[in-house]
């Protein structure tokens, strides 16, 4: 069981490594969107500090959405998704493996870039640390919930737009608690409450999302 999960993750990382151009687009998009705000709003330090956490989090949501379209689409096109679904392991394990791989490929780079971008918003070191922590707990939620949308819109025309409408509402709680944690540090009220709720969301997404994605995949492939 675990070796299957590991093989699925390793497979997707290997495929992403062979096609670097594809996954780098989402990271560049993240950098661009976040960098546009200081340019558009102007160099007002207190204003930037207020909007900083929210901007970084919203950009992370959008960058994740951008990369989700390909989560199952390539495998669907060349028929390897059918072979994966026919493997002698539960399909939920396949969906979980794909979501974990998506997080490693797309989520972890966001974590690494985020503190650098946070500096543009005049965030203090303490807030930067919490920003990275909130993204570390939050981006797996984005990958897990996103895999449901990617599975549901598989093979549909205009799936890219549809996935945005389907998944963005589900991302709202993660956005509120993630950006709220950093705001808490800035306001001096602490981040523990927000981070705990974000952690609870992650546990829930881990338990539920793979099963729903697996069901959606079965329907989409049929």
């Amino acid at each position: 069981m675990l070796s299957f999960l590991f093989t699925v993750v390793r497979r997707d990382i290997l495929l992403a490594a062979r096609r670097r151009g594809d996954w780098l687009t989402a990271q560049f998009f993240f950098v661009m969107v976040v960098s546009l705000f200081p340019l558009g709003i102007g160099p007002e330090p207190t204003m930037l500090r207020t909007i900083g956490p929210g901007v970084v989090w919203v950009a992370a949501l959008l960058a994740t959405l951008l990369s989700l379209g390909r989560l199952f689409a390539d495998d669907h096109r060349d028929g390897s998704l059918e072979q994966l679904l026919l493997s002698p392991y539960p399909n939920a394990l396949l969906a979980l493996g794909k979501a974990i791989a998506h997080w490693i490929i797309n989520g972890i780079p966001l974590l690494l870039i985020a503190p650098v971008l946070g500096i543009q918003f005049n965030l203090p070191a303490e807030a930067l640390a919490v920003l990275v922590l909130s993204l570390a707990i939050g981006t797996p939620i984005l990958s897990l919930l996103g895999s449901i949308g990617a599975a549901l819109t598989l093979g549909l025309r205009g799936g890219g737009t549809l996935i945005t409408l389907l998944i963005l509402p589900l991302y709202v709680p993660a956005l509120i608690f993630g950006a709220g944690a950093v705001d808490g540090v800035l306001a001096g009220t602490g981040a523990e409450a927000h981070l705990s709720l974000l952690g609870a969301l992650l546990v829930m997404a881990l338990l539920i999302a793979p099963w729903i994605s697996a069901l959606a995949l079965k329907v989409s492939v049929e």
């Binding site: 390897s80 026919l86 493997s87």
Partner: protein, 205 residues
């Protein structure tokens, strides 16, 4: 081993076939016949568990296949219209990856030997992207041969293959069935299986 009972299939409100019954035992092959759009591919997808039938059920070793997902997954191999191989990986990597995902170990030598057997000795290290359609089909067939499955479900296995390739597939099927395996296939091309006489099933009459 493989039995279907009173199977019916609908595609977008239209009934493709109904009341289909058959049972297939070890060392038997079944050739599904029918014109374009009669439901051959739909039947094969139901047989391997990718689609759900409108009525009836498919049983493997007496168990409905939905309940025997793990065992069925180990003992069944499917080659569909799409080859299911990744363009960015070499044939060798594709074969070993397919084996690992099926929970099997496939050594580099064994994978290499399987590729030589299907006539790809010269392209084991090229990305599958640069291979021709027929060569990619051969990679999928090499994966089938190394899957160690008891039941083969083949949807148009001869598409895109040259004369040698067709003979190679015929040889693979013959050996598989002679060794006690089961095969369910569709094809529009004549299939020369020697002494093996596949049973015929017509759909959508």
């Amino acid at each position: 081993m493989l039995a279907i009972h009173d199977l019916a299939c609908e595609r977008g409100e239209r009934l493709l076939f109904k009341g289909l019954d058959f049972a297939l035992g070890e060392g038997e092959a079944l050739l599904v016949r029918g014109g374009n759009g009669r439901g051959k591919t739909s039947l094969l997808r139901i047989l391997c568990g990718l689609s759900a039938p409108a009525a009836g059920e498919v049983r493997w070793r007496g168990e409905p296949i939905a309940r025997a997902h793990e065992q069925y997954g180990r003992e069944m191999a499917y080659v569909g219209h799409a080859n299911g191989i990744k363009d960015d990986l070499t044939p060798l990597e594709n074969l070993r990856l397919a084996a690992a995902l099926g929970g099997r170990q496939l050594g580099e030598d064994a994978a290499q030997a399987a590729l030589v057997q299907v006539g790809l000795a010269r392209c084991v290290d090229l990305p599958a992207r640069v291979l021709s359609f027929g060569q990619r089909r051969r990679v999928a067939l090499a994966a089938l041969a190394t899957a160690g499955a008891l039941l083969w479900i083949l949807d148009e296995p001869l598409t895109g293959l040259d004369v040698d390739g067709v003979a190679m597939v015929e040889g693979l099927i013959r050996d598989h069935v002679a060794a006690g395996g089961l095969a369910v296939m569709t094809t529009h091309q004549p299939l020369a299986l020697g002494s093996l006489e596949p049973r015929a099933l017509s759909v959508g009459e």
